[in-house]
Amino acid sequence: MRTKQAFMAGVAILAAATMTSAVPGGGTVSGKVTYEGTPAKQKPIDMSKEPSCAKQYAAPPPTETVVTGPNNALENVVVYISAGAPDEPPPSQAAVLAQKGCRYLPHVLAFQVNQELKITNEDQTSHNIHPLAKINREWNKSQPPGTPPISDKYDKMEFIPVKCNVHPWMHGTFAVMKNSHYSISGADGGFTLPDLPPGKYTVTAFHESYGDQTQEVSIAGSETKSVNFVFKAKPY
């Protein structure tokens, strides 16, 4: 579902050719992601087929495909600059995905193209991680308990659903980003994209169940621009 909202039009400066990394003290885009309507119930996951994981929870945890907060906050939305900022080389530290309690932590992991992705297995059972990439290379790997972390990377931008071949309820998302301008909405639905040099940007918000939306925004100096997204929730 795409909804375009009209905002002040700024002067577009084409800065695509220049390699400028994030500018400390630059502008910020921040805001909140919320939903309207009734989201589907997040049912508790019965992990009884995997007792070593089931016993880690006092009560069965719910699915995380739609995580909401107070005041209709929508969590786990990846908000990023999809146009107007150049690609950046990846940071040196790895992005870490943990398989713990038969869930992916974090549920949505955002990292950069060619950044090292490290996957650990902290459970007593073997997992088989299967990122269902369509643009990047699709692979799946088994990771028995006690084996070293899996290390890999992606070379193209993509939102990749991740599942475990052994535990059907285990699902997550990789957000492979072209640069460092991304933020995942928290429990209050809030996100922030700091250190933006002056320019015209397209901001995209992606939710694994509700799709993506874009808005245009211009940054002149060290100002903070507010951008909000509202997604339509589905009862089923």
């Binding site: 088994s142 028995p144 084996t147």
Partner: protein
């Protein structure tokens, strides 16, 4: 019936040059040895795979140093992943059933000895024969290639049930090119076996020497002949089945895949197929295949026993008719692999009757072997020990079949270790004992040097006791409901069974190590063994009437004439208590 002398024009000229003598040989004896070498290589690989599997089952978190060099994805940090375990299992079964148990007792010994035992200079179609070996070798290499490709070997078991084997790489690791290689390899293997079977049949029917009536053929010759009839029909079904499977995988057909399947989050673009069709095709081949695996060993063991006992069996004819009945009945029982498969339960009942009935000829043979021992004077050596051990193993493996033949009992024993114990005892042990017996018996003839008896007997004791220690406990595990083809045991009820599993693993590793004695004996004796006389065992059949090793044309240009039944023992003859088949001396009566 044409005389053998009329066939002379068909036989190849004497071999010249290294390639013609030892590589692309038309000589059935060289081809027999080539098959034996291939079988030996396959059994070593297959056995190593089983060690890895057994090790992983009882010590799953212990690093196997160096294994990650063989497969980075399959054994990260030296620990076997679930899919790698299944690919080891698949390759173990495939190598053992096809490249060991069809090759060694049938293609290897049959090729070597069938023409000699009927008095022929070579097989009817020496070129076909050469092609059959090289085709089989190509099939082997294609299969081994699956270990080397990045995605690894397939994980669907040697039985490759559809749709797991048919939908392609969505089904799991190794199910892309690994599975394709499996299908191609087995299809090529079928062609090689068909060529071999044709050759055996034509040779047996057309090239027997003068006086060699069908009933004067040695029992092992009969076994190879019956086996080749079965093989001709069985492999003729497996070959198209593999082709259909490959078509489903690569050409978008749907022989075995129905509509609406969602594998790994992908809706499969097929419709109209039947997974049960694969099972019917496969087992229609697969059940006769296990008789292809055991019949030659039955023949070899009978042959060796008679010679060792110094008296004929109570009735060779009854043994031969029993083998024929087993061959005939083997076509009617395939559904017993499918009792709970979802086929019509009335069919299951129908299949159980011939399955139970096949016990009758098997029992007849066992009783004849046992009854013939009465009043004998059994020479004990490595060959006869393995032959006697065969009887014990065949009984042990056979009685567990009695349980599995009944559909109601199969409900609780299907797909458990009980089945695994059953088929390992009859195929993995009994059939292999026939190969061991034949090796110790015929090595002298084939190479000109005798195998070392002390090492051979030591090999027997360790293997006899060791294989009982490995495979008898499998039945106990099955009776408790221990499911097979599991890469790890995580179910609640498995905990108390782990000590027994550890016992089995240690027995398996130990028995495996004992086989090194056999391999050492083969190599050592080849160069340092006592030179073999023409007839070291005082045998009566034609292989003992020619030098060790035989000349390229077996009988040196002569045409043997047969005067006697194959097992004239306990009679006064030129050389003691026996008369050779081609001896013009009159028999005792």
């Amino acid at each position: 019936m044409e005389e053998a002398s009329d066939q002379q024009a068909h036989v190849h000229p004497p071999p010249e040059g290294f390639l013609r003598k030892y590589v692309f040989s038309l000589d059935h004896k060289v081809i027999g040895k080539q098959y034996y070498a291939l079988g030996l290589l396959a059994v070593c690989i297959g056995m190593a795979l089983s060690w890895l599997m057994r090790f992983h089952l009882v010590w799953p978190t212990t690093r196997i140093p160096g294994l990650e060099l063989f497969s980075k994805a399959g054994a990260p940090g030296g620990i076997i992943t679930p899919e790698y375990y299944l690919s080891l299992l698949t390759m173990h079964g495939t190598l053992m059933v096809f490249f060991v148990l069809t090759n060694a007792p049938f293609a290897a010994f049959g090729n070597y000895f069938l023409p000699i035992q009927i008095g022929a200079e070579d097989m009817a179609f020496p070129r076909f024969n050469m092609m059959s070996f090289w085709t089989t070798l190509v099939a082997f290499l294609v299969l081994i290639l699956a270990f080397i490709i990045p995605d690894g070997p397939p994980i669907s078991g040697w039985t490759s049930y559809a749709p797991l084997s048919a939908v392609g790489k969505d089904a799991g690791p190794g199910m892309g090119w690994g599975m394709n290689l499996w299908g191609i390899s087995i299809a090529i293997f079928c062609i090689g076996s068909l060529l071999g079977a044709l050759n055996f049949i034509a040779t047996t029917l057309d090239l027997r020497a003068k006086g060699m009536t069908l009933m004067r053929m040695p029992i092992c010759t009969w076994a190879w002949f019956i086996t080749s009839c079965i093989a001709l029909l069985a492999f003729a079904v497996l070959l198209p089945a593999c082709i259909l499977l490959l078509l489903d995988r690569t050409a978008g057909t749907s022989f075995f895949i129905p509509s609406g399947l969602v594998v790994s989050d992908r809706l499969q673009p097929h419709s109209g197929g039947s997974p049960l069709l694969w099972q019917h095709l496969f087992w229609f081949f697969g059940h006769p295949e296990v008789y292809i695996a055991i019949l030659p060993s039955m023949g070899i063991v009978s042959h060796i026993l008679i010679n060792s006992m110094r008296k004929p069996l109570l009735s060779a004819r009854v043994i031969i008719y029993s083998m024929m009945s087993i061959g005939f009945l083997s076509w009617m029982v395939w559904g017993h692999h499918m009792f709970v498969s979802g086929m019509n339960p009335f069919s299951s009942l129908l299949f159980s009757f011939p399955t139970l009935t096949i016990t009758i000829p098997a029992t007849i043979m066992t009783l004849i072997w046992l009854g013939s021992l009465y009043g004998a004077n059994i020479r004990i050596n490595a060959a006869s020990l393995f032959a006697l051990g065969f009887i014990s193993m065949f009984v042990s493996g056979g009685v567990s079949g009695f349980f599995l033949a009944q559909p109601s009992i199969d409900i609780v024993l299907h797909a458990t270790y009980f089945v695994v114990g059953h088929f390992h005892m009859v195929m993995g042990v009994a059939s292999l004992f026939g190969v061991f017996a034949g090796t110790y018996f015929w090595f002298g003839k084939m190479t000109g040097r005798m195998m070392n008896q002390t090492l051979g007997q030591l090999h027997f004791w360790l293997t006899f006791i060791g294989t009982y220690c490995i495979f008898m406990p499998f039945h106990y595990l099955g009776l408790v409901g221990n499911v097979r083809r599991y890469s790890s045991f995580v179910d609640d009820f498995m905990g108390p069974l782990m000590p027994l599993h550890k016992f089995i693993t240690i027995a398996a590793l130990g028995t495996g190590a004992a086989q090194l004695i056999f391999i050492f004996n083969l190599i050592y004796s080849r160069y340092n063994g006592v030179p073999a006389p023409e007839n070291p065992w005082n045998g009566t059949t034609l292989e003992w009437s020619i030098p060790s090793p035989p000349p390229w044309n077996n009988f040196g240009g002569k045409h043997p004439i047969i005067y006697h039944d194959p097992y004239q023992y306990d009679v006064k003859g030129l050389k003691g208590d026996y008369i050779m088949q081609d001896s013009p001396e009159p028999s005792a009566g």
